[in-house]
Symmetry: C2
């Protein structure tokens, strides 16, 4: 594109924004339709021009305007952090109250949950203020009472799930699912405004609370990230600087996503690292990481201020490991857990994909709300029967992470050595049920995250392995493998609670395939700082196993591929000696505009026939530049109205100056600063340029002559060609992001 010198832009911007070429571009830029991808280079150029105009203002204005810009940005970042911190805190309170409502209510105030209702009662005493529904309705018989309890439990669960599904279906269809795949695509340049609308924000937050309270096998983590991004988007709409620039908006969204994770796990560092590793957004600019850092910290402070759990701690599942040391032989059960986690994680992904495909092709597609009702009824019934899953998943995880301690209540007899086999059986059963339920639930018409169920599955398995190892030690205390244990049997050698943490790490590694951010989240979640090494090792090993079993790149990458979003996975692509020539669409198969040959009417036909985002312009074979669809459409629209203009030839360069009255000069549309490569460049390098420079297309020329072109969609197709179900869930209308 032409780069006017700052002085010229300054003059133009004084005249009025519409006529300024710079601001004209910005104006076009915000006109992306849903389903397209933004042009990062163009956006960055527009932003650059805008700041240059500001800086070149004389005197105080030139100093104040950029400062004012930055302060608006920080205002949004901090307000989003505050907002998501408070929202997250209050959602926790709401969920706790709704969840407790399934069992009873507070006699002196309907809106108290069990803990706050009984806060005056000393521990050890019975809490009379909290009435179960049986007490309330004065049902005396034990049988009738338990029937009543199970009935209320299941029907309230179904009612919550039903309301969530109806809300989502009626008001904000994009508020379902986790939202992280979409956020990843949006941060990569995908345009999907409806996904971030205020309605989606409201319904997702409310629906999330209902869905979690219903006891379905889902978590709040992913949806909270979505809610946080909706907030930042909503706030950004108030400022022209962000309304006009999709690129600037996305930088805000990245910070908001970090804040969302920070609140979801009470893990401010984990939030920043999640943004770094999983969203792959901070790699480009340290400034963006910086904002994520601030948003994360602010969100965590706000959450700590709300203090939803009454512990004034950020650490959700405090691990109370008695000893800080671990022994080398424990690596055997831990690596076993890592292998199980890797395999089961791959399996869960595959199952989830199959169910999603089945849902799409079967009658379920027509009745999403009924599906939610059915699954929630089944989940509630099973949960009520299997003791470990009756409580909220977060409570289950907290209990499984606890070590046995004589001073504390023994959770469901987990610490009873004689009941070891029953416990192991129940834990494995719970894990198996949760795998099936999670694979089904993740993708239904309700807000649902996959982190917490995965942690719960892993914690069950980990605790089971821990109990088995402990049993082995109890049976053979003098075996050589246990030599490193302290000889005194009253000192604990094996901590099954910590095995549950390892199980959770392994399972998360297998499902999400994250590495370092997962480790940080886990140890901010558990406070198990001294055990960071085993956590690292299990995450590493399970990712390895998972990658060996399924080359899918984790649950989020799978969903992105299934929905067909234009997102470039940050994988290391390795070619086998191919060059750009093997990847590019050759010039013979390209739709090009020929300088001084095509008429206005030709261009109109071309625009109607092809939905490409832009077209190369050539003179004979020489490449002149690139014209984007939007600019071209806007430029020829007025000319099409007059019949005399339609047959005029379009000129993009100064090559041919004859017959001026039969020509229309469109040279101002031409973007000249496009990237050109020779087709001999290795394919690997082409792919990595798309990944690192956020390109939308690369033009191939040799000696100035156009030889071909590669677009982002070609690269996405190349990188997802191994996955069999690519775009199987996409709506079809979204295909034109080429």
């Amino acid at each position: 594109m032409p780069r006017p010198d700052p002085a010229e832009v300054f003059e133009l911007s004084e005249e009025g924004q519409v006529r300024s070429p710079t601001h004209g571009q910005t104006h076009f830029a915000s006109r992306y339709v849903d389903g397209s991808t933004i042009d990062w280079l163009r956006e960055e150029a527009a932003e650059r021009d805008r700041t240059n105009v500001q800086r070149s203002q004389f005197g105080v204005r030139g100093l104040l305007l950029p400062w004012f810009d930055a302060s608006k940005m920080w205002f949004i970042v901090i307000l989003t952090g505050l907002g998501i911190g408070l929202t997250g805190g209050w959602l926790d309170v709401l969920v706790k109250w709704l969840g407790d409502l399934r069992e009873g209510h507070c006699s002196y105030g309907f809106f108290y949950n069990q803990v706050s209702c009984c806060s005056d009662v000393n521990s050890g005493e019975a809490c009379d203020q909290w009435q179960t529904w049986g007490d309330f309705l004065v049902v005396e018989s034990v049988l009738a009472q338990s029937l009543l309890h199970s009935f209320v439990y299941v029907s309230l669960a179904v009612a919550f799930a039903l309301s969530a599904a109806v809300l989502v279906k009626s008001y904000a269809p994009y508020a379902f699912h986790t939202g992280i795949p979409e956020i990843k695509a949006i941060l990569g340049g995908y345009v999907f405004t409806a996904f971030l609308s205020p309605w989606t924000l409201l319904i997702k937050a409310l629906g999330l609370a209902l869905a979690v309270a219903s006891g379905l096998s889902l978590g709040k983590e992913g949806p909270l990230v979505h809610v946080s991004c909706c907030m930042a988007y909503f706030l950004s709409r108030f400022f022209k600087q962000f309304r006009n620039s999709e690129a600037q908006q996305r930088k805000l969204l990245a910070a908001a996503a970090a804040a969302g994770v920070s609140v979801a796990f009470g893990s401010p560092l984990g939030g920043v690292l999640f943004g770094l590793e999983e969203l792959d957004t901070f790699a480009n600019e340290s400034e963006v990481m910086w904002r994520g850092f601030v948003a994360s910290a602010v969100a965590a402070v706000a959450l700590q201020w709300v203090n939803p759990f009454g512990t004034s701690k950020l650490v959700l599942f405090q691990v109370t490991s008695g000893s800080d040391t671990w022994r080398a032989f424990e690596l055997i059960p831990w690596l076993t857990l890592a292998v199980i986690g890797g395999i089961l994680g791959s399996l869960l992904i595959k199952l989830n994909v199959e169910i999603a495909l089945y849902r799409r092709s079967s009658v379920l597609n027509e009745w999403p709300v009924l599906e939610v009702v059915g699954v929630s009824a089944i989940t509630a019934a099973i949960s009520y029967l299997v003791v470990f899953s009756r409580v909220q998943a977060s409570e289950l995880v907290a209990n499984l992470f606890q070590e046995c301690d004589a001073n504390k209540i023994d959770y469901h007899g987990l610490c009873n050595p004689s009941a070891m086999w029953e416990n192991v059986f129940l834990l494995v059963l719970t894990a198996a049920i949760k795998v099936l339920l999670t694979a089904w639930t993740f993708g239904m018409m309700i807000p649902a995250g996959i982190f917490l169920p995965t942690i719960a599955i892993g914690a069950c398995l980990g605790r089971a392995v821990g109990l088995l190892t402990q049993g082995l030690h109890r049976a053979y205390p003098t075996a050589w493998i246990f030599l490193s244990c302290p000889p005194d049997p009253s000192v604990r050698c094996i901590s099954p609670g910590f095995y549950a943490v390892i199980g959770a790490s392994a399972m998360l590694g297998g499902v999400t395939r994250m590495t370092i951010s997962l480790v940080v989240i886990l140890f901010e979640l558990t406070g198990a700082l001294s055990h960071v090494l085993p956590i690292m090792i299990s995450v590493m090993a399970s990712k390895w196993i998972g990658d060996a079993f399924g080359k899918d790149g984790g649950i989020y990458a799978v969903w992105i591929a299934m929905r067909g979003y234009p997102w470039l996975p940050p994988v290391d692509f390795e070619d086998r000696g191919e060059t750009g020539a093997h990847l590019m669409r050759a010039v013979e198969r390209l739709v090009v505009i020929e300088d001084a040959r095509n008429t206005i009417a030709d261009l109109d036909t071309m625009l109607k026939d092809h939905d490409f985002h832009g077209f190369p312009v050539v003179h004979r074979h020489d490449f002149l530049g690139f014209v984007t669809r939007d600019k071209l459409r806007l430029a020829i629209a007025p000319l099409l109205l007059e019949e005399s203009e339609r047959s005029k030839r379009c000129v993009f360069s100064q090559h041919t100056s004859s017959n001026a009255e039969e020509q229309v000069d469109l040279s101002s549309l031409l973007e000249e600063a496009v990237l050109q490569l020779r087709k001999e460049v290795p394919k690997e390098l082409v792919v990595s340029m798309f990944q690192k420079l956020n390109l939308r297309q690369i033009i191939f020329t040799t000696g100035g002559k156009l030889t071909g072109m590669v677009t982002k969609s070609d690269v996405v197709a190349l990188l997802t060609c191994n996955f069999p179900h690519t775009a199987s869930l996409s709506s079809g209308a979204r295909r034109s992001w080429g």
Copy 2:
């Protein structure tokens, strides 16, 4: 470069490596001379060709060879991790023993340090086995004893420092300083083989132990990273795959650097993040981060196994904060500390730069060993006088991080409320002295890291502010600002030990300008997980202040600039509307080879006159490709010997085929797959392409005609133009990396 199809390469490689064009390239690639920069694209291409050859082997060989390659890589990564973990552990033991030797020795075994000598003695009892030098020489008089003690203390300190300096000066001049600036430059592509030699490894490790034990104001962190990289380099020399590829070597070095940090701070996560943020190496390939992750974990396991401090913990400076909560009013003293840290950090950098420049221009340049002796004598004398600096810096920091506790020994009366003003004065004095000594020491002819002294300075100031705040609370317990403190005066409200942690974070933020990796390192170092938010806030604020005061990017960036290494800082460069045309060297000022015009003799003259790394080849004005200096020199060397060949014209293309006998065909030397841009591309984009794609040059063409060229050195010069002392310490001979 030409990309032969795999089958052809396979045949050629069967014939013999020297004749294969692919391996020929690899061979050239390893011939970089010290002081040049590697060509990443060429290296990557060579590596790609090599793996393609392997994969295209038939049958089992095709499967086994790549697997074998990968296992060699993992072998080096794991062995380096083990090696640096063990080395780090044993260095700690050595340092402790040497340090204790300054005060006395163990009566029943000379090689025991004080702790292990007294390990049989119950706590509370006096340890008779440990004899001070006064006891040993049976000096009775108190005056004579203290004179003897101070004499032995100072003279042993000087002796240690002297040996370290002599070792470095005589055997491995590159073993001085921290090493991190050089590692950063090397990872960015700088070639500096002498820096990684086995001699450097040995001398740096030994010298480091002596330097630390001498009590000079320095730490072991940076040098350990250097030692770790030397190890990886040493191991990599045994495998042809790494010997031939500078790019592959660098990927190993990145993992080794992470392992070094992991051992230095006992912080495996911090190591990975340091690699990510400060060395900026993992951004390019997730595979490299993965290796860093493994190396870091292995190194930490090895260190824990050596268990140098007898605590079986990785956490070096365990914080024993009584309460997990902090109060909002504490943000005022903490932000004050952050401001002090930011300003003092900038000041320390500026002071260090001035001293380095003075050293270079003054007589000190001739007498580096004498300088070390002088500074170590002064340091030892001052340290002996000021009570807080008499112990090793690491012990001081550990003591300052401790909270006061009635059950524990009160370190130098820090917990005595009546001595508050004396303590504050002493702490501030210690900090001031340490600032001066550190600024002088960092850059002398001994191995020296800057992390630990910075932590010590910050901890002193932090503890002082903590004591003042505590004093204020004690004086006005009912003031409104302290309303959030518990009313019971026996419950501690303000924890001065944690203020020391905040002070250390702030100071580190100001000196290194790191963000997220610093936070992770600090909380792995202290275990203060519940206080991660205040640490984040203080690091953030002090980096902000530091950046506002000095736009230098931290101490390492300053040293890189002073030494003139070709390293691209990962800053966000913002142009003011300029394009590539403003940055490039225009074609009129380029040294180009003209196809079919220049003779062999011309080329020889050109090679002698200019030390550029390569030359563009043009036919009239059309750009044909790029020829690197190395290839050209090797190709024309045999031709220069025959007089008849010297006057032949060099042909690089098929344009001119007449007069075949008067021409030499050099077309095989031409690299055709070079990156070309139009000169209208924004400057910002050009800079970011250099930063992200590891380029060595970009050619600018318009319509196939050469218009200019930008090299890495142009971009480095652009990014460091704000720093006044660029290349002021470079040796001049290293300038030819253009």
